[in-house]
Amino acid sequence: MLWRIDASPGKATTWTLSWFLFIAGIAGYFYASHNRHLENPDDKVIPTLNQLAEGLSNAFLKPDSEEAAPEDLANASLATKFFTSMLWTDTLASAKRFLWAMLLLIPAVFLGLHMGMFPVIGQLFLRFILFFDKIVALSVLPILFIAFGIDELSKVMLIVIGVTPTIILDTFNLTKSVPREQIVKGFTLGAHDFGVTYRIVMKQILPRVLNSIRLNLKAVMLFLFAGEMIASQDGLAFRIALLRRHMGMNVIIPYVLWVALLLFLVDLGMKVANKRLHPWFREA
């Protein structure tokens, strides 16, 4: 019986069930779009397939209309068109901020590791980080804009403030969860404090830390988008916010799907890298 808790659906059932909501969603979208366009052929709220294709072409193959286009772009190759396109320029701008934020997570991991290993460092930082973690990052956005201006720094700082406390605390807890026996064992094998910290504990928690960062990717993107939507001249979220004013749903929808695809690829990349780098690691 399919509805019992001990049911084991076959391959075909599993495939059908897992794709059902996607297909239903797409079908529902085009049904609604068709009905709206019967009433108003110029409707922009739920674009048709043709409108979406036009939006996609504009986003993927044309530069930002507000920027001066290269003169010979009409005869340029598809690749050249793509790499000068609005979508690509926005992706690069957002990716740069995203990478900066990711790089700034590395010190967070080291801080969490040292807090977990060295009681003095733990006592110095733990209460402060716990307090910091409770601050809603978006609520300090005005302070960030005042303190750091509306340039790149404030946007990167927003991501850092929003995500680093979680990563620090996650790393701290993971460090603390390493069995005491392993640390004692390290000492009996001639390791000193830093040997135990880096060669035993860090190596054991690294795959879990990477998983924690993976799970926080969406939060990173959330803060990045918040920053870009409020004060930016470029970036994926800037474009979405800009197009919202013009009801440019035919470009917004491809942008949203593009962001989801990018995030999925980053997540997949990290997952594969984690598996390759730590073949011993078995996820619970």
């Binding site: 069995p179 026996e181 392993q182 004692v184 064992k185 009996t188 094998l189 054991q204 011993w280």
Partner: protein
């Protein structure tokens, strides 16, 4: 023989949240000579593992002194090998890397690992590790496996090899065989006896099993409760003659009777009954 370990009037008290502090060990005295194989027995919670951790340096006594070769050593070091019941191997390292970890850690710092000498030494260490694996009865094909791909018995064999490659003065084993099935366990006991005879390392072996203690130890120490507060001390301490260890008939029975007598004399009739 000279004294290697001295436990002088050891008292260990743990704070308990919202309750009175718990005294685990009180007035514990024990001298251990170089080359002895001490089997430590006692009921659950009597402080056997605490005593082991004190000797290891992983824990400090509330009062009293633990002397290793006449010195107080405040933290674990390379001279005291350790084989716990669980988490005895590093899960992120292969069997070979687990075994060679200690000497590599001791001989080379992070920059030293970039020198040609490191790679040469690493090859030598891997050969030694292979020889140790063979001595432990493990297959060479196991060398590149991760700990979770090994059975419990195999993991403990690797853990012993990992400790022995450091040539420690003392090997501390905390219920190292208790999770093993009876066949694997008796194989491991024989192996440990052979290794002890070959290396002469001083071994402290904590076990619940009195038969195991009598088979392995040159001396059996029993910890037991001494008062209503539940703190423990040594209630029986008996040398086991070599012929009694190998003979599981009358000779061992005699040693057991003497041990039970000591436990009774110390006011632990229930434990004595359990042992008999």
């Amino acid at each position: 023989m000279s004294k290697l370990i001295e436990l002088e009037d050891i008292c260990v008290i743990y704070p308990v949240h919202g309750q009175a502090p718990k005294t685990v060990l009180a007035g514990l005295h024990l001298d251990i000579q170089r080359g002895e194989f001490i089997a430590v027995c006692g009921q659950t919670g009597c402080g056997k593992s605490t005593m082991l951790r004190l000797i290891l340096g992983a824990e400090a006594p509330t009062s009293g002194r633990v002397l290793i070769e006449g010195e107080v050593l405040p933290r674990p070091d390379r001279n005291r090998g350790y084989v716990p019941q669980k988490y005895s191997l590093f899960p992120d390292k292969t069997v070979l890397d687990n075994i060679t970890f200690g000497p590599e850690m001791e001989e080379f710092n992070i920059l030293g690992r970039l020198t040609p000498r490191f790679f040469k030494r690493r090859t030598e260490l891997r050969e030694t590790a292979h020889a140790l694996l063979q001595q432990m009865g493990l297959d060479p094909s196991d060398a590149h496996k991760y700990p979770d791909q090994l059975s419990g018995g195999m993991q403990q064999r690797v853990a012993i090899a990992q400790a022995l490659i450091m040539r420690p003065k003392i090997l501390l084993m905390d219920e190292a065989f208790s999770a093993l099935d009876p066949t694997t366990r008796s194989g491991m006991q024989r192996l440990l006896r052979t290794l002890w005879a070959e290396t002469g390392t001083t071994i402290l072996f904590v076990t619940h099993n009195l038969n195991e203690a009598l088979y392995l130890g040159t001396r059996v120490v029993v910890l037991g409760k001494q008062n209503s507060q539940g703190s423990s001390r040594v209630i029986a301490d008996l040398s086991v003659p070599a012929d009694a260890r190998t003979d599981d008939g009358q000779l061992r029975r005699d040693v057991l009777d003497r041990l039970i007598h000591q436990v009774e004399q110390a006011g632990e009739p229930q434990l004595a009954e359990a042992y008999s």
